[in-house]
């Protein structure tokens, strides 16, 4: 049986709806992407696109993604397509550095909407892996 996927997010709204452990990143969406990249360098591979949602870095303060952990007992290998995707996502963020929407820095009601949409876009993927426990 495949190992349990890892959920990376800076969205507390989503983290509360994940069944079991969640890799919660205290910080910006960019920090989530950096954490994803670190994990990919450790042999994990992306299961979801790191830029899901049609929301720019200066709109959406949250990022979430699912990763497949490295296979136990296998030699370390870095997934080139996962690495390329996360590097491309980082490049999108760098292209508008200084304008990023940050958690806690936008109106609360709007932030809640962004959090809800981020969670909703992850819901289907989490359900497929039995990792979703609460309605959005």
């Amino acid at each position: 049986m495949a190992e349990r996927p890892e959920v990376f997010t800076n969205n507390a709204y989503l983290a509360r709806r994940v069944a079991g452990e969640c890799r919660f990143v205290e910080g910006s969406a960019f920090d989530v992407l950096v954490a994803l990249r670190d994990r990919i360098h450790s042999g994990a591979r992306l299961l979801t696109h790191p830029l899901c949602g049609n929301l720019r870095p200066y709109q959406q303060p949250f990022r979430s993604a699912l990763l497949a952990p490295p296979s136990e007992g296998e030699p370390l290998s870095v997934c080139p397509s996962s690495l390329a995707l996360v590097e491309e996502a980082l490049a999108v963020y760098r292209s508008c550095q200084g304008r990023w929407a940050l958690p806690g820095k936008i109106p609360a009601a709007v932030e809640e909407d962004y959090a809800c949409v981020d969670a909703a876009l992850m819901q289907d993927s989490l359900e497929r892996h039995g990792l979703w426990r609460g309605a959005c």
């Binding site: 949602g53 929301l55 491309e88 999108v92 292209s95 936008i106 909407d113 809800c116 949409v117 876009l121």
Partner: protein, 429 residues
């Protein structure tokens, strides 16, 4: 499959005692319209207003735009799965109120949606400044969940569009009748010998809440790529549930009038043999992306096409689907032309797409969504103007004290349409 579009030109819209169309002016009985679209307890309030070309009017935030259509002859009704039954459409005769539109306006979330200015510099960027608009403004019942609010607003737009066409269908005569026929595959394969076979790969936004598209009422994220007859699209088989990124979301109006399909028809039999339209989705998981891109391009290969036009909806995540589709088609020996838009920064100097490949060497752009525009104050605002500060392409301080809004083109509905249903174009110097 043969479809006749019976187009009646609409040059104005007004309120009046009876819904009718005379001398190009659509008169609408407001109470009857609201009665037809109300009754959904998910909506706490529902109102309607009018916005005409040239008026100093701003509509914000726009959710969808729908062209009034109904069937005159043929089985079923338009917008199958919502207004009509789920039986196939795309045959018979369909009435089109050409020049009219239903615009839905509601604050589903505290961001996104779009702006339509009926005059001024912003009007130059949206095709819906040129339509005579019946605007529906709705607010949700207390505690309504966002998915339900989106669905209720979406359905209200379809009902209104269908009502307007249906109310006048027995008393109007078409100004223009356009006929679109699509052959069987057996006929298409042997037609126009010597001309290259061409298909259209039609990408649909399907990431989730506020990012959805429906085909015959089915959430398109649940489909695998399949063939659709272009005439089915003209009868509303594909509708928008996407209210994110106003500039490049494909409104239901844009689907109904998809200019790529029309262009493929126009040169069919002259420069190429247009043999099929394939719809595919843009999902979140990488496994779905692989499956859909492989399946869609496999269908194209089974059709034996030499070339394919691929249109994207959205940006970022869908850029990956676009590039996968391109690379896989080219690997199968199918030449591709991509239609997208760009997020190249306010100075246009940044990389335009989040993904790329060397095979993507023929590309049409809908424009740079990051370009800035100052929208002057308007005499009248329909909707919820305070949300300009948190609208896509806006930022804190976007809304000036005098009512002007400084935004990126991203905020303007349809400004950089990736179907090409927009007002931006180019010419050779």
């Amino acid at each position: 499959m043969k479809l006749e579009l019976h187009k009646v030109k609409v040059t104005g819209v007004q309120w009046g005692p009876v819904t009718e169309l005379r001398n190009g002016v659509l008169t609408v009985n407001k109470a009857e319209l609201l009665a037809k679209v109300s009754g959904d307890e998910r909506l706490a309030s529902l109102d309607a207003d009018l916005a005409l070309p040239g008026e100093k009017t701003r509509i914000v935030p726009v959710k969808d735009v729908v062209e009034p259509r109904c069937k005159l002859e043929g089985k079923n009704e338009v917008f199958p799965g919502f207004i009509g039954d789920v039986e196939s459409v795309g045959m018979g005769k369909t009435l089109v109120l050409d020049g009219a539109a239903v615009v839905t306006c509601g604050k589903i979330v505290g961001f996104q949606e779009g702006i339509v200015d009926m005059s001024g510099p912003g009007a130059q960027y949206t095709p819906f400044s040129q339509t005579n608009n019946v605007v529906l403004i709705f607010t949700p019942a207390e505690g309504l969940e966002r998915h339900d609010y989106e669905e209720a607003g979406r359905l209200a737009g379809f009902k209104a569009a269908h009502y307007l066409a249906s109310a006048v269908k027995n008393s109007v005569k078409a100004d223009v009748v356009e006929t679109f026929d699509f052959p069987t595959l057996a006929q298409a394969m042997t037609a126009h010998p010597g001309l290259p076979k061409v298909a259209y790969l039609y990408m649909l936004q399907t990431q989730g809440l506020l990012h959805d598209t429906y085909v015959y009422g089915v959430d398109a994220k649940r489909i695998i790529p399949t063939l659709i007859c272009p005439t089915e699209v003209m009868d509303g088989a594909i509708v928008s549930g996407n209210c994110v990124s106003a500039c490049d979301k494909n409104s239901t109006y844009s689907h109904l009038n998809n200019p790529v399909i029309r262009a493929l028809y126009e040169r069919h039999g002259k420069d190429y043999n247009f043999v099929g339209c394939i719809i595919t989705n843009e999902n979140v998981t990488l496994a779905d992306k692989k499956r859909s891109s492989s399946y869609a391009t496999k269908l194209a290969k089974m059709l034996g096409v030499d070339g394919m036009v691929i249109t994207e909806e959205g940006f970022g995540n869908p850029d990956t689907d676009l590039i996968m589709n391109c690379r896989k088609a080219e690997t199968l020996g199918i030449k591709t032309v991509l239609v997208t838009d760009e997020y190249a920064g306010r100075d246009g100097a940044s990389q335009s797409l989040a993904d790329a490949c060397k095979e993507a060497d023929a590309l049409v752009t809908g424009g740079n969504a990051n370009e800035m525009i100052l929208l002057p104050p308007m005499d009248k605002v329909i909707g919820f103007p305070d949300f300009a500060n948190v609208i896509a392409g806006g930022f804190q301080g976007s809304l000036h004290e005098d009512g002007a809004i400084l935004v990126e083109l991203q905020a303007i509905t349809g400004a950089t349409s990736e179907l090409g249903y927009s007002k931006i174009s180019a010419y050779t110097m």
